[in-house]
Symmetry: C2
Subunit: 314 residues, 2 copies
């Protein structure tokens, strides 16, 4: 069976977050893009996560991840403190304000992949220095589908390195503001088309509470977010979106060859993956950290997906 | 044939607008909610528009409206100047900034309906003083479906009058910020549910470039806006949305009784009407004033609707 071999390699931050939102404050809770991505993706397929934490990081969380099908042997534990992000959101929950970033042990992060990691067919390069994203890709043997994320800091800080990365990836997932910054456009369609010319044949634009837009060779798909009654903390929404999105694609065996071989199927599965991402993100925001995701059940995902599809259909 | 009798009465402003957007400036162009609504709705069914203009208003436009199936006998021409709105938009095209409002002849507008007007089955009360909206409704004989719009100015300025109006209407169409202000909520679902308790069984929340959300007894429908390459001027998007929405419903013979008699059909047609609204608004924003709508053809509406539905479907 092909499916047994499918897994996703992700490289990203494994961190502590201190977050203030209109709903309250969470002090030094677990966070990080690699973490959110892995927990979400693990609902769909096995994950290998590569990252670094300090010796203050709770081993119990790594054990919990393992129990969920996340291979954490790629998370290096080094002497020092774990990456710590401090941020806040005002009433406009679509935008985070960074109050401080203590890179700590993440400052000298230089991902070295094991033989096993290098063989993995699916790759998600979470939002880290594009130099490191490129280095990870250099180490991969023959990835079948590569997606990446980025952010304003790298778009303005390392544009050349980011552009060299984009030429090598199949899918870019960014938020609306990042898409505008990256392309110097103010119109979302124009921005997405410009990104496609930079390399990624698939662009996923995340729009916070308004959902996501998928742009491929054959057209546009627009999925709304699932409207929840109470958004507690939007942190990790984008990374868990990406986790479910990639997890869905990996589980369905979608590779870049499909774009040529069966463009209709490629598009259909990408659209389904976007819906999976929207559904996952809607759970993430219901509580601080991954509190909601850690107790989330498959049947809840399925029920909410059904509801969301109803909200889309005539 | 039942359909021959169907028409919509609308009461709103017929005005001049002076508008600055990132795309340029339009000086004293035709505008006003009654105008935008009528032009859009006339693609679907006959319209009766009630309003007031000064003797500076071009008769040629009234003649053009008549040619489009808009009965303009309810537009009173009085001595003085026509209502003139001056506004601007910055890069965030979702929000207008009012620079000045010269009510002029509109200041003493007191709509008196003719016998013919009082008989019309569909009513759209555009965004005017809720006292006048109530007065119009008092004059109607037996409307089968009543929708209204409002805005921040009336929500804060005449809350009691607006609330008394809401108890009498079937459909409220407002933008997101107005829904929050009206309900003192920050969550769109909660706001929509609260509005439903105020009277309207159908709430349409307009979200600018993100489309619209429909909330009814049976659930939620979320339609994206049709993404256009270049938004020139968002003025009138909401009113032309409402025009196509109501025009679609009137043409399909949807009355409030259908909600009870055939809730599935009611919901399906409301959803289709929202899509019609999104499509119409996407043309409106492509040029200043109604320049785009005045040359719009039915086949263009149909083609764009087809494209939008593709963007919604898996």
């Amino acid at each position: 069976m092909k499916k047994e071999k499918t897994s996703i390699l992700t490289v990203g931050s494994v961190a502590f977050d201190t977050i203030q939102t209109p709903s309250g404050k969470a002090e030094s809770v677990l966070g990080g893009s690699g973490n959110y991505f892995s927990i979400a993706a693990a609902f769909y397929c096995p994950i290998e996560v590569v990252g670094v934490v300090g010796d203050d990081f709770p081993k119990s969380h790594l054990t919990w991840l393992s129990g969920r099908g996340v291979d954490v042997t790629g998370i290096k534990v080094v002497h020092g403190k774990t990456f710590h992000w401090v941020g806040s959101y005002d009433q406009n929950l679509n935008e985070a304000k960074t109050l401080s970033t203590a890179l700590n042990v993440f400052e000298h992060f230089d991902p070295k992949l094991s033989e096993k990691h290098r063989d993995v067919p699916y790759v998600f390069l979470a939002n880290i220095d594009p130099v490191l994203q490129n280095s990870v890709l250099d180490q991969m043997k023959a990835p079948k589908l590569v997606a990446c994320d980025s952010m304003n800091f790298w778009i303005t800080g390392k544009p050349a390195e980011l552009k060299s990365l984009l030429r090598r990836v199949d899918i870019l997932s960014v938020n609306e503001g990042e898409a505008y910054l990256l392309t110097d456009e103010k119109n979302i369609l124009k921005a997405a088309r410009k990104i496609r010319k930079m390399g990624p044949s698939v662009v996923v634009v995340k729009r916070g509470e308004y959902g996501a837009m998928l742009v491929t060779e054959s057209g546009v798909f627009i999925a709304p977010s699932f409207p929840v009654d109470h958004v507690v903390d939007p942190t990790g929404a984008g990374d868990s979106f990406a986790g479910a999105f990639m997890g869905f694609l990996a589980n369905a065996g979608v590779t870049r060859e499909m774009a040529e071989e069966n463009p209709e199927k490629w598009d259909h599965l990408l659209r389904q993956a976007v819906v999976a991402g929207c559904v996952m993100a809607s759970f993430t925001v219901e509580d601080f950290s991954f509190h909601r995701l850690m107790k989330l059940e498959h049947k809840e995902l399925a029920a909410r997906e059904k509801s969301l599809l109803k909200m889309l259909s005539l």
